[in-house]
Point group: C2
Chain length 308, copies 2
DNA sequence: TTCAATTCATAGGTACTTCCTATGAATGAC
DNA sequence: GTCATTCATAGGAAGTACCTATGAATTGAA
């Protein structure tokens, strides 16, 4: 049984005439007759009563034709559905964002993307790089925003921007009056850090050339906001990315100090599976993020896309 | 787009693997890959994300597969419906019966046929031969019970039985004491008849060798039961078929008298379109009628089936 | 009765589609 | 690097659908 055969029997049922039905189907009458004979044979019943006057549906034929119409209708909808799915900027985009970027990027990003691609809502997962990596590879996520380096097999990345780190100290701290600070001036014992597993923790320690000494207990906080509060209460100093230190987050108890050159920074990028079917959606996302007013150093559009 | 292609994409969606999907579809992996590529091309979208791990549905693919499943399901039901329609003794049989047979045949016939073919209910139309002929040719009726002669192009007939005519007279009538009457003894002026259009009227006049004289007004009745009542009230005599004169219809005011040999009779037959798809239903109907306990002369099963 | 017209079916040959086996390219594990 | 696994490509064989031409059956008119 084929869709063509179903179309033929419906045409004959409508036309009550093999010849005219063949015309409408753009085939010769013998071709149509043969196809219908084949189908009748396969189904084991006569669908039409042939006579000089033309073709008339049998009782069983009525039922079969009605069902054939339903089948053809559903088959036609496959094309419709495909048509709808054809726009890569249509349909949910499942986005992962690491903890240290999400709160400072998403509010603006969601709004901007809703303007740029109104039919592509975001389904957002906030987690660590390791967790997002797993979800991305499993296909649960389509795209991830994370910090480089990140090189995994089967994954493409595109760098978006470089984000400077800054130092925050409590108001009365000895460093509070400095205009800039160089990384090796920071006292790691005074430093408040995120827990193990956050890439930002490693990047900060890396900036301070501190790889070995484990931080004393009680000197870490579970989010950047926790760290900020801890600094405000005078527990120590910390290093945050610039996007967490815009005017919106100003705090009278905290002094923000730039790093002296070379300013340590992190490179933020998009990552997606190599075979992902909607690269245009990724491109749109990248473009939208680049156009946001973030306190970062923009990169050229083509400075990304390496693969292992 | 073909049903085969839809089956292939559903198989890949289920297996998440081209090779295993091909196995399940009993085709080689390249054949399956090519078919799917062709369909993806036709639909204009990628349904699967190919990777070393296998195949994964894209967002658009999810929708398409769901629709494809519906289409395949409806297509499969075409076969189911055909299977159900395969039994010729299943489904309504649209039966026409002439007025002068219906009331005396149908009660027993409906009961007997319900026993013989419980899945074949009758849809019954009672009318004159001319009207039933039109409905039969138009396909509104499947089979008609009527009296011969009846020869129409494209119509097959099968004789069922010969039914004798009998004379009915009112109790005090001069002929009431006769054992038998010969047809030419009947006074046509005394005869009560059905209106023009009923074949029985012509058959009775034919039996009396009376072709020309129009019956006086007020000497006809619209049904056999009306005629019977008219005779009972002494308005005249009439000729009825034997099936209308069984014990069930006995009336103390009426005397029933057999014809002397040669007894005039009518031959009752089935008629159906030559191409009618359920000849077995017709055969079953004929057989059922023949087995009824009617006051008729049965014919052999194969004494019918002439055409034009 | 014969003839012409109309219907659907059959015959024979061609073109296209599907399918197979063999092979290739990309990737990742060891 | 080597091997195993994935899906894609190539080339050729088999099957299917299609076409034109013709036939058979029927019917209405000459």
């Amino acid at each position: 049984m084929t869709l063509t055969e179903l179309r033929y029997i419906v045409a004959v049922a409508d036309a009550c005439h093999f010849g005219r039905a063949a015309e409408r189907c753009h085939v010769s009458q013998p071709s149509l007759s043969a196809s219908i004979a084949k189908l009748e044979d396969e189904l084991g019943i006569k669908l039409f009563e042939r006579s000089r006057r033309g073709a008339k549906l049998t009782a069983a034929g009525e039922e079969v034709i009605a069902q054939a119409r339903r089948a053809l209708d559903e088959a036609a909808r496959v094309k419709t559905v495909a048509q709808q799915g054809r726009n890569p900027l249509k349909g949910i985009l499942r986005l992962g964002v690491i903890h240290t970027i999400a709160p400072y990027l998403l509010p603006d990003l969601v709004a901007a993307l809703h303007r740029a691609a109104p039919e592509m809502p975001l389904d957002i997962e906030e987690n660590t790089t390791a967790a997002l990596d797993g979800l991305l590879k499993a296909g649960t996520l389509d795209v991830v925003v994370l910090a480089l380096p990140y090189e995994e097999s089967g994954i493409l990345t595109q760098a978006l921007y470089d984000e400077p780190f800054k130092v925050i100290v409590p108001r009365g701290h000895p460093l509070a009056r400095r205009k800039t600070i160089s990384a090796d001036e920071l006292d790691v014992a005074d430093l408040l850090l995120l827990p193990v597993g956050h890439c930002l923790r490693d990047q900060v320690l890396d900036a301070c050339r501190e790889f070995t000494r484990p931080p004393p207990p009680g000197r870490q906080g579970n989010s950047l906001e926790t760290l900020r509060s801890m600094v405000a209460s005078g527990m120590g100093i910390s290093v945050l990315p610039a996007s967490a230190l815009t005017a919106r987050y100003a705090n009278p108890l905290i002094k923000v100090i730039d790093f002296a050159s070379p300013v340590p920074m992190r490179r933020v990028a998009l990552a997606w599976r190599k075979g992902f079917a909607r690269p245009a959606a990724v491109a749109q996302l990248a473009e939208t993020i680049r156009r946001l007013a973030l306190p970062v150093q923009r990169l050229s559009a083509d400075s990304g896309r390496p693969n292992r």
